[in-house]
């Protein structure tokens, strides 16, 4: 059972969406996206119709990403559990809704233009996280993530 957060967890999601014709039907996605969970950062590269790479990254890498998604660890857990329960994000747990529910936003960027990739590819990124409903997630201990 893949552990969230980890490269293995994101790889499992990557493998699901890359085989999913519905993900392809949403259209091309060209973006470099970060996911920041406590002290852990992951880089997801999307190119054309697939997620081509997942790797662990550092704070320095954030500057080269279009944007990154950041929220407290318990909020990540809440989001992933909501997706698991509903088969996809419920109305109150979509990425855009979460983004507007935090003063600093869920989607953050050093670049006012590149951040718009969060909006341009919003439904594909949502679909990526929605695919986590298809796997069983084991959550890492909070201390391991924040360390």
């Amino acid at each position: 059972m893949p552990v969230f957060p980890s490269v293995e967890w994101f790889d499992a999601i990557k493998n699901i969406v890359n085989q999913d014709p519905e993900f392809r039907a949403l259209g091309t996605v060209d973006s470099v996206i970060g996911v920041k969970v406590g002290g852990k950062i992951y880089e997801l590269i999307f190119e054309a119709f697939e997620c081509t790479n997942v790797r662990e990254a550092t704070d320095n890498d954030l500057r080269d990403m279009d944007f990154w998604l950041e929220q407290p660890y318990d909020k990540w857990q809440d989001m992933i559990e909501n997706i698991k329960r509903n088969g996809k994000a419920g109305l109150s747990h979509t990425l855009n809704t979460l983004d507007l529910s935090m003063p600093e936003g869920l989607a953050r960027s050093h670049d006012g233009y590149r951040r718009d990739a969060f909006y341009r590819f919003n439904q594909s990124i949502q679909d990526f996280f929605n695919a986590s409903a298809k796997i069983d997630t084991q959550f890492a201990a909070a201390e391991a993530v924040t360390a």
Binding site: Y119, R120, F121
Partner: protein, 457 residues
């Protein structure tokens, strides 16, 4: 047949040059054609064989029709000499029988033959177009994204000039011919329209399209309290009006842009389509749940778009200023959506609007990098656009109040909703300034005071 006629020397010389035998020239003269007319036919490329067939057809010559064809012609009331002329022009017996079976009258056949029969002497093979000096042997290769506009921008075809010198609709990379009429384009400078993102955005728009009629989960909409239904219907009215206006404005600019910048023309075409899709989907929402349309907008802000006198002015006001605020409406609409259908509508319009913004902002950056002296000019366009927008805020309570009610969940909570409305404006204006900063335009100190007030809230 034709009388033997003397061939003038200059006609004989031309006939020899073109390979026309004397007997064909003499037959042609015998029909009454002048030497100059015959030389004209020769210069058009009419061959001796074509001329011979034509003259035979004119004289009623050619192969003798079969008995079956004669019988069919009699049934169809086609005169025999007409049938013979058609055969002389190369028509097959079976074809003629088919035409008769189809009900083609003798009169129609006569007209067809007199017009050259679609393959007669008046329709000549030229083929000079095959010897055109364009860049040949081009082999664009599909990428992971397929065969995109960027993938075919290779060699001369990818050379996008700073100034496009042609008034006609000649495609970039083709060869101009003299005498073609102008198409009335007025934009011939790359910096006036270009964005380095437009080819990518075009492909993205094509790939990420969606269909309101069948993709939106319409049946998820359930009856709403009257005040909430009125609020969403007013929002739909406002957005439909705004998106239609944007489509109309872009449609007016399309024919101004010369063909040298086809990537821009194509991208703007997708924008118009997406504006239309937004009009469609919000109108459908308004008319799908027991409500209807609301009041029209006061239109102050719209005037600043319609009145734009140059392309970059329109882009700055419509595709950067207004679209930043519209994107804010879509993002907050998605957050506060009452059902999956409205969630879907706002979320998908959000994606489309972000592309429009990407073009607008990257166009401004291109202009400012290549024509830095236009910086103050663009600031003034935004001064004007923001000023008109504030007028709308003051004079158009319907938009502000309907969004507030929708966000808060009803008329009795409108005060809470107005706070969310202000937060929406704050978010949108903050993003507007961040986008302009990326385009190298600092507007933080120049933002219209009526809008700046939102940032302090």
């Amino acid at each position: 047949m034709a009388d033997i006629t003397t061939i003038p020397d200059h006609l004989r010389a031309k006939a020899q040059e073109k390979g026309w035998p004397d007997d064909v020239v003499q037959q042609a003269l015998a029909t009454g054609a002048s030497a100059d007319q015959i030389i004209g036919y020769m210069n058009q490329g009419v061959t001796a064989e074509q001329a011979r067939q034509f003259l035979a057809a004119q004289a009623g010559g050619g192969p003798e029709p079969s008995d079956a064809l004669k019988a069919k012609a009699a049934d169809a009331s086609w005169p025999l000499d007409l049938v013979k002329r058609a055969l002389a022009m190369g028509a097959a017996e079976n074809d003629l029988i088919n035409f008769m079976d189809m009900g083609v009258t003798a009169e129609q056949a006569q007209q067809f033959i007199e017009q050259g029969g679609g393959g007669g002497a008046s329709f000549q093979v030229d083929l000079s177009w095959m010897d055109v000096p364009t860049e040949w042997n081009t082999r664009a290769k599909p990428t992971k994204h397929g065969l995109t506009l960027e993938a075919i921008n290779i060699g001369k075809y990818g050379d996008i000039p700073d100034i496009w010198p042609y008034q006609t609709e000649m495609p970039r990379g083709a060869v101009p011919i003299p005498g073609v009429e102008g198409m009335g384009y007025s934009i011939f400078e790359k910096q006036e329209v270009w964005s380095d993102a437009c080819a990518k955005l075009y492909e993205e728009a094509i790939q990420r399209r969606w269909r309101p009629a069948t993709d939106v989960p319409w049946t998820s909409i359930e009856p709403l309290p009257d005040d909430l239904e009125r609020a969403i219907c007013q929002i739909c009215t406002h957005i439909s009006e705004k998106e239609q206006l944007e489509a109309d404005v872009l449609g007016r600019w399309e024919p101004e842009i010369s063909y040298g910048y086809h990537e821009v023309k194509l991208y703007l075409a997708t924008t118009i389509f997406e504006n239309a899709r937004a009009v469609e989907v919000f109108r459908k929402r308004a008319l799908s749940n027991g409500g209807g349309l609301g009041v029209q907008s006061s239109g102050w802000a719209f005037r600043s778009i319609v009145d734009a006198r140059n392309f970059t002015e329109m882009v700055a006001i419509q595709m950067v200023l207004h679209d930043s605020l519209t994107l804010g409406q879509y993002a907050f609409g998605e957050k506060f959506a009452r059902n999956p259908a409205e969630k879907f509508i706002f979320a998908h319009c959000l994606q489309d609007k972000a592309r429009h913004l990407s073009y607008g902002v990257s166009h401004l950056k291109y202009v400012l990098l290549h024509r830095p002296e236009r910086r103050e000019e663009i600031q003034r366009y935004l001064d004007k656009g923001e000023g008109m927008l504030v007028q709308d805020d003051k004079k158009d309570p319907s938009t502000r109040e309907s969004f507030a009610m929708y966000f808060a969940g009803g008329k009795d909570k409108i005060a809470d909703g107005l706070q969310v409305y202000d937060a929406m404006r704050k978010t949108a204006l903050g993003q507007y300034l961040a986008r302009l900063k990326w385009a190298t335009l600092d507007r933080s100190q120049r933002l219209q005071p009526g809008l700046k007030a939102y940032l302090g809230s």
